[in-house]
Symmetry: C2
Amino acid sequence: MCFMHALLRECRKGTLPREIEPIARNEGMDSNHLASALIRGVVSLPLNPRHSCRPCAIGERCRVKVNVNIGTSAPRCDHQLELEKANAAIVNGADTLMDLSTAGDIPALRKRILSLGVPVGTVPLYEAVRRAGSAIDVDPDLLFRVIREHCQDGVDFLTLHCGVNQAAFDALKVDPRLMGVVSRGGAFHLARMAQTGEENPLFKEFSYLLEILEEYEVVISLGDGMRPGSIHDAGRLAKTTEYLTIGRLSKVCHEKGIQRLIEGPGHIPLSQIGYNVRMIKELTDHAPLYLLGPVVTDISPGYDHVVAAIGSTIACMYGADFLCMVSPSEHLALPLVEDIVEGTRVTKIAAHIGDTVRKGHVWQEARELPVVLARKDLDWEGQFANALFGDHARKIHERDGITDTCSMCGDLCALKLVKEIFEKKEEKQ
Amino acid sequence: MCFMHALLRECRKGTLPREIEPIARNEGMDSNHLASALIRGVVSLPLNPRHSCRPCAIGERCRVKVNVNIGTSAPRCDHQLELEKANAAIVNGADTLMDLSTAGDIPALRKRILSLGVPVGTVPLYEAVRRAGSAIDVDPDLLFRVIREHCQDGVDFLTLHCGVNQAAFDALKVDPRLMGVVSRGGAFHLARMAQTGEENPLFKEFSYLLEILEEYEVVISLGDGMRPGSIHDAGRLAKTTEYLTIGRLSKVCHEKGIQRLIEGPGHIPLSQIGYNVRMIKELTDHAPLYLLGPVVTDISPGYDHVVAAIGSTIACMYGADFLCMVSPSEHLALPLVEDIVEGTRVTKIAAHIGDTVRKGHVWQEARELPVVLARKDLDWEGQFANALFGDHARKIHERDGITDTCSMCGDLCALKLVKEIFEKKEEKQ
């Protein structure tokens, strides 16, 4: 019995599954509201019953969540490094991990990532391509077999590029893009479609796909295989054609009780973020939206973590629910541990700033005030204890010695001066 | 004869000063438009005739400019370090520098900063406080003398906290803020006002102040001494009271032909940036707006450069013209060279993203396309040559060896795969 089915059944009886309460509390949300949001499909909860991990609610009125991608590639295939990266991500606030390995013993690494206690996502097509030897040799049987294996292993959500169909391919031909296709999943499907003339099996046999996901209670993440690869390409047809397909598939998922996430673009100019996010939300009946970026300029490789944080904060203002970390090595190299640390922190900051808008005033005060009160009193320990990355802040502060003020102002500290003014006034009165 | 007066006189004769043309060209702007914008006061050009430097137009339809603050403090007073920081700022794209020194031989360092070839700003009050020994001992004569000295030395723009008057002080008492006053200039004025009961001389003798600025053709930067010091404080009265005063003073400046910049807050929640920027623009007749931040969360010390980049990018969407760098050591310590490098780069990225909105589609394409075209062709050298910080990007890319693809995807490069699909199709046809 799938989680959503069980939930629906229990709710119709007027009871709430007991698992709901702590998850709702963690979001500062009423249990009934969370149950209702799950039933309406505006919140999803990736939680494979075969996987033991902390639950993570994603969607409307939940805190914005952060996913971090790790995984091997042929040029750099080191399981130990990937596990270090995964742990660094969790320590710095990752809510979920995706294992995007494309080299080495992929199932073995996946099992170790699944042991880390957070929801895990994968892209089964990557493993299928590695096993077949090339993208054009991935027959549908192999692909569905790999999907089933990932479900059996306990993966909580699967990115499946079901929207990369002939309609999207046609759109790409009619209205070409400089960067073509930059999604690996998208490119793999297209390569086989171009070679064989066949439709993408994930689109053609979508009902069969949903049967597998229902059997294992796994969340589908509808991948954005046609996401623009440069801000120049953002206004081309392929992206919007895929939105429409994903919107239709999102409805089918919801009707069948399959939880879904929607993946969004990509490279988008600042001025186009708002309407893109709103359009996707509308087309998918406000399903939880999972964004990579958006990257809002293409001229800052090496700083794409900051570029994506700027784009994603704005996307959160319009309804993005789930942010995929972008690391400083994006577009340049497979990330190292320090890239994951920096990327995760910066993405976490974007998510938090998004929350200051979406979670409302009371929530914002609760999270922000402890740091402000400590800063007001020049209580450095209090600041570090309540800051997002207090140990990092401490290192910067203490490099010029441990003092009550900071080395920026020293004896000319404005806070101290003004405090004295008001204290003197009070004494006089 | 002040620059603005000369400009007005020449324009009335129907001629354009010859200095205008290269500046306009550099902004992708018509000379007549720039002259008109300067006359209307929506663009300012800090350019002290006693100072030799590259001109920097700030305001409507100009590229968003970046200022970097450097300067000594009592806990860390090292002229050589400050000069290294100044040079690092210029190398990484600073358009102007401000010397905020509060310790050591302040005039000597200022002269060296002025030799670096970019417009320079200062806060004369800091030096006056150091010379008097304390803020309450700065008498008006000393303050005006120091202002005159800075003008004589060739400083191009002066931050003067003329809006910190009794009305602002009253607003602070009526509607207190947790963080009180975090602007050093603001705090210094308030300390003396509280001690002596006198009005801020920069407000009281504003006409005299403008006479000095007119004599030396120096731009006034109307400082935001009442800027909120935490997002919790953003909605309090003192800030808006100061906006109103600054708005009135801005009109006086413009009537007298004194170019001005307007400084804006501070710590502001994401949801409040838009109306604050618009309100300041309206009240000041759309004078060029110079922002520090806004910092949109208080819980990320150590990452306030990113927090400010997020806030300032959004502020640019609403009309901010000039961004002050925030470094990773903000709120923690005086920045080191590496903080200036990181802070300047991230602020420069925010300014560029702001430009993608304000400078329009054609400008955006011109700046972005070279990188996109190089990336499409896996032409790494072309990417690095056209990127904002190409050397930094190169280091990340080359750490896994020099190859045509990157170590993220290796043999599974989506770009390569899709290129092959379309090339095969073309061969068939």
